[in-house]
Each structure stands twice: as C-alpha cells, then as structure tokens.
C-alpha cells in the first residue's frame, strides 16, 4: 500500500512531538532514536526514513520554533523600529520560541550549523539558515544599508548570530539577562560596522 503524503506528514509530526516530549523529560543527551521511535509508535528503521539522525530530528524541531518566532516578529513589528531595534526584535522573538529547548540548542546547532561548512548538514538546518538570512537581508535593505556587499554583511551577521545563540544556550544569569545585554551591544557593533560611512 502506498503511503500518502498526508500520512507521511502526520508520522513526521508524531515523531517530532515524541522527540519533544522525551527531550524535555529525559534530556536531549540521554534520549535515543529507539526511544523516540517507540514513543511515536513506529519502527526505529522507519524513523530514519524521516530523519537521518537525532541531530537532524532535533534541528527540525528547532526549525519549527524559529519559523514561528519569525512569524511572531512579523506580528510584533510596528514598522517604526530603527535598524538595530528591528534586528533585536527578530532575534529576541526567535529566542523566546526556542526557550523551552535551550538546553539542547548548543549541541544541535553545533552539528547542523557549523560555521565551517557552507551548507547545513540537514535540510531543516539549511532552510532555517537561508530563511533567517533572507529576513536579515530584507531588514538591512529596508533600512537603507547598502554600503557593504551582501555576502560580507551576512557572513558577519551569521557569526554574530551563532555567537549569540551559543552564549544564550549556556547563559545561567537570571532570565538570561546577560544575553539581552550582549545582544544589545553586539547589534550596536554590527550596526556601526555596516553603516560605517568610511567604507
């Protein structure tokens, strides 16, 4: 019997929900793909038809949240933000969605979004990166910054962004307020860099 696209999507969703539950209850590190498959009611082998690894699975989970965060950003944006404020709103909206997964954002992003590879090791990571960067490019252009070539500004931005995510994932300060201060400062530095009239 052929499995319909709809059924496939449903299974993928089941797997994601099962993983989400286990990551929360057992912890990311101690959760196995076997446990996830079991909880989702499928064979372990079947799980790999959907997600090649635990990291890719987790990245899909994060990608969902990041996408929702981007949706939040578009809803929250009033249109009268200046550049830094706009960018801050985008990143903070995403982080807020990612908050429940903070303890495994680090290992997942490390394996799926390394700065050393041009592309992410999984489709979910790749689409997350390109969609996020497209949004950032849109923001940069909307605010009229055009002095620096896109590939330079996005490369600079991407390393800054991953740096913020990495810092946030292990930030032990109250409400991760240290990350807020870091973001504020970093975005200022970035703004200063891409708006530098000397270039």
């Amino acid at each position: 019997m052929r499995i319909t696209q709809k059924a496939k999507e449903k299974t993928a969703k089941n797997i994601l929900r099962a993983a989400e539950q286990l990551f929360t209850d057992v912890g990311y590190k101690d959760t196995t793909t076997r446990q996830i498959a079991q909880k989702a009611g499928i064979a372990t082998g079947t799980l790999f038809n959907y997600f090649p690894s635990k990291e890719a699975l987790a990245m899909s989970l994060l990608a969902e949240e990041i996408q929702q965060g981007r949706g939040d950003y578009l809803k929250r944006r009033s249109g009268d933000e200046d550049f830094g404020e706009d960018l801050f709103l985008l990143i903070s909206s995403e982080l807020r969605r990612l908050k429940p997964y903070r303890n495994f954002v680090g290992p997942v992003l490390e394996s799926t979004m390394s700065l050393f590879s041009k592309e992410s090791s999984c489709p979910a990571g790749e689409s997350t990166r390109s969609e996020h960067l497209q949004m950032v490019r849109d923001i940069i252009h909307a605010h009229g910054f055009s002095k620096i070539p896109d590939y330079i500004s996005t490369t600079l931005y991407w390393s800054l962004y991953l740096g913020i995510l990495a810092f946030w994932s292990t930030d032990e300060s109250r409400n991760q307020e240290e990350t807020l201060a870091l973001m504020d400062y970093s975005i200022n530095v970035f703004t200063q860099t891409i708006s530098n009239s000397a270039l």
Partner: protein, 477 residues
C-alpha cells in the same frame, strides 16, 4: 588678600583637574602577567566616537571633570619613592580611569564612584551644579524592543498588554536604566523605571577589575583606606540595582509625610514592580533645571528650600537614614507648591551603634563641647584617641564640622545662596583631596554626598531657610 584671590588659591581649579587626567591613557602596560594583560587590555581599548556605541562615558566634559578629580585625588595618596614606583602608579591609574570610562553604561556611576572614592568636592558652584545634573540625565537609552523583552521576562507580558498606554520613548534617564510614562488600565498615570539588563553582574565584575587594577599601586599608608571606600561604593551600586529594596524604602518614607508637609512621595504599584522594574505614580512637576528659568520669586525659592531641608531631616530623624542622593534630578517642583521626591535608590540606614555615635558628635558640636567634638572626630577617622591625630588633620576636620553645622547654629533664615559660604565649603573639601585624607569610616562618604548635594541644590535655588528651626523641629532625640 581679597576673598576672590583666597578662593582661587584654595579651590582646585578646573585646569588642574583636567591636567590630572593621564596623558598616556592609551599607552600599553609593560607587564605580561594576568593582571598586566588586564591592564593592557583596558589601556588599549579604543574610545569609540560613534554615537551608536554608547558604552563610553568619558566622552563628555562633565565625565572628564569627574575623572580628573578622581585622578587628582588618587595622586595625592600615591607613594612615589622613585621613578619606577611613579611609572607603575601612573600606568595603573590610567588603566583604572579607562576602566571607569567603560563603565559608562551607568554614566551616573562615574560621578558616584568619584564622589565616594575622593569625597569628590566641587570645583566652582555653577560648573559643578551643571555637571551633576547632566551626568544624571545621560544614561544609555534602551530601545523599545529591548524593553519588551525585559517585560516578557519579568512579568510574562508585553508593556502594551499590562498597561492601557505605554510610551515607547523614555521621558527620563535613571543612572541604571530609564523611566517611561504609562497609564494603568484603572486610569492612573504612572512612571515606570526599567533597569538595563544584567546591571548587578556587570557592576560586580567591573568593580572586581577596578580593585585588581588599583591593588598593586604603591600608596601612602592613608591611601589603603580607599579600598574600604570602594567596597562601600560597590554596596551602594549593588543596592541601587534592587528596585524591590527601593520600593520598600519609598513606601516607608511615604508614611513619614502627611498632606500638611507638602512633600509628596509617589505611591508604588506593587503589581507592576519587582527587582528590575519599578512602577510609581507619575508626578507632574518641573526639575530644577526647568524650574529656575521660570524665575521663581524669593518666597518660592525659600519655600522649596525649606521643603527640601525638612524632607532630608525628616528621613534622617524618623527613619535614622541618610538620603544620600539629593541631586536635582530627584526633586520635582510641583505647580501647587508641593515638593515631589522621586528616587530612593541611594540611602544608608544607620545601625544603633552608628546612630549613638552620630548623636554624640552632633550634641558636642551644637553645645560647643570642644573636647567631645574632637573625640567624635577621632572616632570617625578610626583613631583610638585624639592624641593619635596629627594637629593639621584635627584642625581640618574641625573646620569641616563647623562649616557643616553653621546653618544649624544660625538663628533665623540662613542664606544658602551666599557664594562666600558655599565657596568656603568647596575649599574645605578641596583641601581634603589635596592632602589625600581618606582615613574615615565609610559612613561619612554618605554624609558627604548628602551635605554637598543638599548645599549645592539650595545654593542654586538661592534659598533662605530657617534651618535651625527645622533641625530642632525634626529632631527625634
């Protein structure tokens, strides 16, 4: 010798203060040990000039004056036995000042630390009055996206969800954050003070670095007391990060004043307040800098000077607390002639023991008990007996005490706008910096802040106040 010449000779001149800022502030430190690296790192930090980088405090003239004073005060306690010691001291001084500069996320703190470390005196009345005020109003701005995140973290809701209206732009800066106007859903107009994220931890780490930078300096024996004052400054700054503490004190002070006192302390809205956000009634009124250009008549100047003095005495007598931040930004002149007190972050409650010592000193001073006063002075300067004190120091502190007590000993209205009186105070404080006097209980840093702040305020207001009458009236002992 004319009065003016005398003043010029005694007071620290602005030129001297500016000259005290190390010229080689960007020079790399020669050491390569961890401390050396820290100093090197701080010393080579470039001064950002772009307005987008808001973390540098020494860009303004006002901050330079504060730092210049600090440099002057520090040099007076240096022990420069040889060239090597002098170079070491200068290197560390430059690094310490640089570090203070990067602490400009709280520009007001530069002034506060300066005051606490050096008992920062004033240069000339007009200059310092403006300096104090501008520094206090120059805190770094937080944009609305950041404010929203702070609210979501603190209350789980956006400002627009919590309040009926919320101004995205701040209307005033606080030393550790900023203040926004808002309206509660029940209709009350409020002022919402929001703290910049991570202040407490930043202060802790900056102060630790500052201590490490100052520690290796070769100081005179007297200079070592500066570390006690630094501890005290850190406690003060740390207290200011806790808005819950401020709210509690505000509520306590509010109880001390009735409608007949014409002194208003805004109500705290507890449901909208916590450690990092403080929501109070919004008071409509003018700050000193907006009030003075309205050319108030003498009656109003005297009236507000009286209210300010009464407020300070009431808090002291009834709550045994020094209200240690009487700078102009914390007072509001209301249209109906009432005085608004709006900031309670900086105060120091005396212990029973300190209170007893204080009363003793005051009695001796007011009753003309010279021996008793000397004894109290010696104790406040941590000497076991009067005999241990050098005669010059004792003489200096007597003169300081007399100057402080003069308005309390004068029958009838005291003219706080008298330039000669104000200048004498400045000269006395300047002398302390020149002589490098640092040996005293840190409690007196708080006193110095209160007295110098109060006197500056009343000088600018040009108030005549029956100070003795208020003092006797408010005395609780």
């Amino acid at each position: 010798m004319s009065n003016q010449t005398q003043q010029n000779q005694n007071a620290l001149q602005l030129k001297k203060v500016m000259q005290a800022i190390p010229k080689e502030i960007n020079e790399e430190a020669p050491t390569k040990d961890p401390l050396g690296d820290l100093i090197s790192q701080i010393s080579t930090r470039k001064v950002p000039v772009n307005s987008l980088t808001r973390l540098w405090a020494l860009g303004s003239m006002q901050a330079k004056i504060a730092v210049g004073y600090l440099a002057y005060a520090m040099r007076s306690i240096f022990s420069n036995k040889n060239e090597q010691e002098r170079i070491l001291n200068e290197t560390h001084l430059a690094a310490a000042l640089k570090l203070l500069g990067t602490m400009g996320y709280l520009r007001g703190a530069v002034m506060k630390i300066g005051q606490l470390l050096g008992n920062l005196p004033h240069i000339v009345p007009e200059e310092v009055a403006e300096t104090m005020e501008r520094l206090q109003f120059e805190a770094p701005p937080m944009h609305y996206s950041l404010i929203r995140e702070v609210f979501l973290d603190e209350f789980g809701a956006e400002p627009s969800e919590l309040f009926a209206t919320f101004d995205k732009k701040a209307f005033a800066a606080a030393s550790l954050g900023q203040v926004h106007r808002a309206t509660l859903k029940s209709g009350e107009e409020v002022a919402v003070k929001i703290q910049y994220p991570n202040m407490a931890a930043t202060i802790r780490s900056d102060m630790a670095n500052l201590r490490k930078t100052l520690m290796p300096m070769k100081l005179k024996q007297e200079g070592r007391y500066i570390f006690d004052h630094l501890d005290d400054a850190e406690i003060m700054l740390h207290h200011e990060t806790d808005y819950t503490r401020e709210a509690a004190f505000m509520a306590q002070v509010k109880e001390l004043f009735g409608p007949e006192d014409l002194v208003v302390v805004p109500k705290v809205w507890e449901d909208y307040s916590n450690q990092r956000i403080l929501t109070t009634d919004y008071l409509k009124g003018k700050h000193l800098r907006d009030y003075l250009p309205t050319n108030p008549d003498q009656e109003h100047r005297d009236h507000f000077g009286t209210l300010i003095s009464r407020a300070v005495f009431r808090i002291y007598g009834a709550a045994k607390t020094i209200y240690a931040d009487p700078h102009p930004g914390n007072f509001l002149f209301l249209d109906d002639d009432r005085l608004g007190l709006i900031d309670f972050g900086c105060y120091r409650t005396l212990s029973e023991e300190e209170w007893e010592v204080q009363i003793g000193a005051e009695k001796a001073l007011m009753e003309g008990d010279a021996k008793g006063l000397d004894k109290a002075i010696a104790a406040s300067c941590l000497f076991a007996s009067v005999e241990e004190m050098e005669p010059e120091r004792l003489d200096y502190l007597r003169r300081l005490s007399f100057w402080q007590a003069e308005p309390m000993q004068t029958q009838g209205p005291f003219a706080f706008g008298d330039k000669d009186f104000f200048q004498r105070g400045i000269d006395i404080y300047s002398e302390s910096v020149k002589r490098g006097y640092n040996r005293h209980n840190s409690l007196y840093n708080w006193w110095a802040r209160l007295i110098s702040g109060h006197r500056t305020l009343l000088y600018r207001l040009n108030s005549n106040v029956d100070y003795r009458h208020i003092y006797i009236d408010e005395k609780t002992y």
